[in-house]
């Protein structure tokens, strides 16, 4: 009797415990990796060629999807704010309403999610492939530190490029919002900009950009961690990429909450 009851009684706690341990293992791995990378920043020992290559690959070549995302985000925010402003008959604040949400919250968030999908996933796949084909061990055998040769340039490139892309995306999103406001609500671009400039503070803009730096670091560390801890051939690479994008997305949302809370 007790042997029958026992599995059902212990299944749920065992499942919760296993899930908690899994999450703790990954978070611990992330923290250790960040610590090691920070230690290599003082003094900075970065392979300059790798850095430039990654800046180009991660930044310049993501410009297309960031622009597409930003244009549609700006336009969507206007469409969503449109019923509200027509209800209160306050068309002149649409610039502020759409611009505030885009610049402070939605813009950095969506651009970071797209960046995580494109650059983060790609980075995990690349590192995981290198691990699976023993290239990382090859580097170690040649006494080249994989952290400062492979990881540090990638992390620096991701953080700086996500910030740059968010700035570009902000500009493009405002453009998309202006076009949508003109087309849907017949709001003059000039009055759109007036309400945006008058009501938006510099701090609002800065909050969005600070967030993008934090998101960039989060994406960089998660994608490197999951790439390096891959196990088992081609299916393993797929699983690592999957785990990496899921962890990066959860991390982005959780950090977003705390930065919003702290920055006010």
């Amino acid at each position: 009797m007790t042997t029958d009851a026992r599995p059902t009684l212990t299944t749920v706690p065992a499942w919760i415990g296993a899930a908690t341990l899994d999450i703790a293992t990954e978070v611990g791995g992330l923290v250790v990796l960040s610590g090691r990378l920070l230690a290599r920043l003082l003094p900075p020992r970065v392979d300059r060629y790798e850095l430039v290559r990654n800046l180009h690959k991660m930044g310049v070549r993501s410009l297309g999807i960031v622009i597409v995302t930003a244009v549609f985000t700006g336009a969507i925010m206007v469409i969503q704010a449109a019923p509200l402003v027509t209800r209160f008959n306050a068309k002149e604040v649409i610039g502020w309403g759409a611009g505030f949400a885009t610049l402070r919250e939605v813009g950095p968030l969506l651009i970071a999610l797209m960046f995580s999908g494109r650059v983060g996933a790609n980075n995990t796949a690349e590192l995981a492939t290198m691990v699976v084909t023993d290239q990382i061990d090859g580097l170690r055998a040649l006494a080249i530190d994989p952290l400062s040769y492979l990881l540090l340039p990638r992390v620096l490139a991701m953080v700086s490029m996500l910030l740059t892309l968010t700035i570009v995306g902000d500009v493009v999103a405002i453009g998309g919002a202006i076009v949508a406001a003109k087309a849907l609500l017949d709001v003059d671009p000039r009055s759109f900009m007036n309400s945006l400039v008058a009501l938006l503070s510099t701090w609002d803009l800065a909050t969005g950009l600070i967030k993008s730096v934090i998101f960039g670091a989060m994406i960089a560390i998660t994608s490197c961690h999951f790439g390096l801890t891959v196990k088992g051939g081609a299916p393993g690479v797929g699983r690592a990429v999957n785990a990496s994008v899921v962890a990066a997305a959860s991390g982005i949302f959780i950090l977003d909450y705390f930065t919003t809370y702290l920055l006010g």
Binding site: A19, I65, V68, T69, F72, T73, A75, I76, I79, Q80, A82, P83, L84, T86, R87, F100, R104, E105, L110, L113, M114, S116, G117, R118, A121, N122, T124, A125, E126, A128, T129, V132, T133, L184, G233, A234, P235, G236, V237, G238, R239, V241, N242, V245, V246, A249, S250, F253, I254, D256, Y257, T260, Y261, G264
Partner: protein, 269 residues
């Protein structure tokens, strides 16, 4: 001189301008063809209940935790942000709940939840199918006269349509609950004041549910195409997974734009 120079430059510029849209049009056409083929097979083909249940579990049950966490946090963030903003202009937060409910139902619950599922489900589907392609399992199926679309894509498609719909509604509930708690703790808004759905009308509900359905159909098709067109070993699987995540997220954003615009024109106010 200038004429020759212009000749040499012009095709390059035209090519650069044209290749993007042409590639995009081809991709969209291929996706639509796949969507129709999958829908036809879903109706006429054999129904493998075990595969369907397995996929529904993989796509649905195993995403519940992820969706709950992310949507809970987005609910907290949105209420916190908009509460601070509202206090800057009017010191009255009674409209916070109704407005939040309307935005959530019409757009944010479906779209942000679908972006999350695009990463989770899209990466999963593409990684799985991609690994099968590079290890020649898909070709083996074709040799056995088994259509990979029917055996692999249809169960994932059906499971995703049903499960995305359910998960997005669950995500909306989580986001609203988390938002309600935040409003109560931070701004001292009563639960009963916050949980006011008077602004949610039929149009909002129709637009929101359409979005849930369309995203659920778009994500597996886009990712299955990325997975099935994989080539080149474990690096190829990585590429396929990346493009599945990017393309299905982009699909969500672009579909959101069109559905929102149509919704605004159909149900103004």
């Amino acid at each position: 001189m200038t004429g020759r120079g212009a000749e040499a430059v012009q095709p390059g510029v035209l090519e650069a301008l044209g290749s993007g849209p042409i590639a995009l049009a081809r991709e969209v056409r291929a996706l639509l063809a796949m969507l129709f083929a999958v829908c036809r097979l879903a109706v006429t083909g054999k129904k493998d209940r075990r595969a369907l249940a397995e996929q529904a579990y993989q796509i649905g049950n195993r995403s519940v935790f992820f969706v709950s966490v992310t949507m809970g946090f987005i609910g907290m963030i949105l209420v916190f942000q908009s509460g601070l903003q509202a206090l800057r202009i009017v010191p009255d937060l009674t409209m916070l709940g109704p407005t939040f409910a309307e935005l959530l139902v019409r757009d944010l619950a479906a779209s942000i939840g679908a972006m999350m599922l695009a990463t989770r489900v899209g990466a999963g589907v593409a990684a799985e199918l991609g690994s099968m392609v590079v290890t020649d399992q898909v070709d083996a199926m074709r040799m056995c006269a088994a259509d990979p679309l029917e055996y692999l894509v249809v169960p994932r498609f059906l499971a995703s349509v049903v499960m995305t719909f359910a998960l997005l509604i669950w995500g909306a509930v989580m986001a609203f609950g988390a938002g309600m708690l935040t409003a109560n703790v931070v701004f001292e808004v009563n639960f009963s004041t916050f949980a006011n759905f008077s602004l949610v009308d039929r149009g909002d509900l129709a637009v929101g549910l359409t979005k849930c359905l369309v995203y659920g159909a778009a994500i597996p098709i886009v990712s299955a195409r990325a997975g099935l067109t994989t080539f080149g070993g474990s690096e190829g699987v990585g590429w396929a997974t990346t493009s599945a995540v990017v393309n299905s997220s982009l699909a969500v954003i672009i579909l959101n734009f069109f559905i929102s615009a149509a919704g605004y024109l159909l149900f103004p106010g």
